[in-house]
Symmetry: C5
Subunit: 96 residues, 5 copies
């Protein structure tokens, strides 16, 4: 999983049935301690915990994301699985 | 999933049966708010929603892409699952 | 999937049974329009369409590659699924 | 798998049931011989071997991580599978 | 799959049962023709063909790696599947 910040959303009328009724949120990966963006890649993850713009979230990908929606035939490859309350990072550890 | 722009297509006569009759579109990953290309990597995704060149699309990958074509024995690892109408990105959020 | 050029091959006597009799080709990822190498990472993909050195091919990865050989217990994670006849890339689209 | 150092943890009240009771540890990938951080990407992995901050660990990802918790319907995509006692790296080998 | 050089090994007492008795080798990805390291990322792969330090090997990842050990419930995400005898790379092809 990775930590990201919800920075927006995608609206799409023409889409797979599996995506109908799902919130498509744009998530920017961030460095857990510095809070800065990690490379400029943003992903679209389907929300399942009620996350909103500006919130720090945990994103899971691949088969794990499909499982979030309880269906191994899902077309979703990234899902938000938690809203982060707090993170503790031991900088000395991170300079290892 | 990631947001990309359809920039072209691939024609291949010699190919796996599973690809016959499928539109092989070249997709450039883009930054959702800046619209700029994200690293110069382009992927080939199979279209399933009628996307055309120049359109912003949502691409899913891995097992999720196989599921788009309803077959766990598919040889497809990337599929277009939506045509993007609009995206809203909160720049302040993205500078987090 | 991604577009690559076959640039060579690997010979290995000591290998998994699943690889016996399979062509192990070295593929360089290329930018579909510029034809230039995309980062200096080369992958080894198992050929299934009769591709040769210098040819542009389409490579699929992960579970999709295992499916190319019709066996979910395959040890192959990258497979060549098409020989590219031509590619059309709309440069304006790619500068999006 | 990759070698990393546990540098912290994530606390999240709102989360998928599958994550309840699980330790969400922040792991920085490190170069096995130099010990330095490998690109500034930190991942969140679920601990299953009792790892603590500052310890070198082995992280597995994807379906392998789901299997660590014995459930193919898990939403976990990264798991800590070992605490590293020691590593031996032949620098000459690594300059190959 | 990718070509790498075995540069060392990991010793871990506290680990998942699935890893007990398995050789955890540190592999540096290398450029097949130049032999130079490809980005400074080293992975840990489980050996299944008797590879030793300094040898060029072929590494498979994801579900394919789990299959090497014949168990879809394995916690292994990277496995060594061949010892490379020789590689032939057509430099002209690689400058494509």
């Amino acid at each position: 999983m990775y930590v990201g910040v919800v920075v927006g959303s995608v609206v799409a009328t023409t889409k797979e049935d599996d995506l109908v009724g799902k919130k498509l949120l744009i998530v920017q990966k961030v460095h857990p301690s510095k809070g800065t963006a990690v490379d400029n890649r943003m992903e679209v993850a389907v929300d399942n915990v009620g996350a909103g713009t500006g919130e720090h979230v945990l994103v899971t990908t691949g088969g794990a994301a499909r499982n979030v929606f309880g269906s191994s035939v899902s077309v979703i490859d990234a899902a938000i699985v938690a809203i982060v309350d707090s993170m503790e990072v031991n900088e000395q550890g991170s300079e290892a």
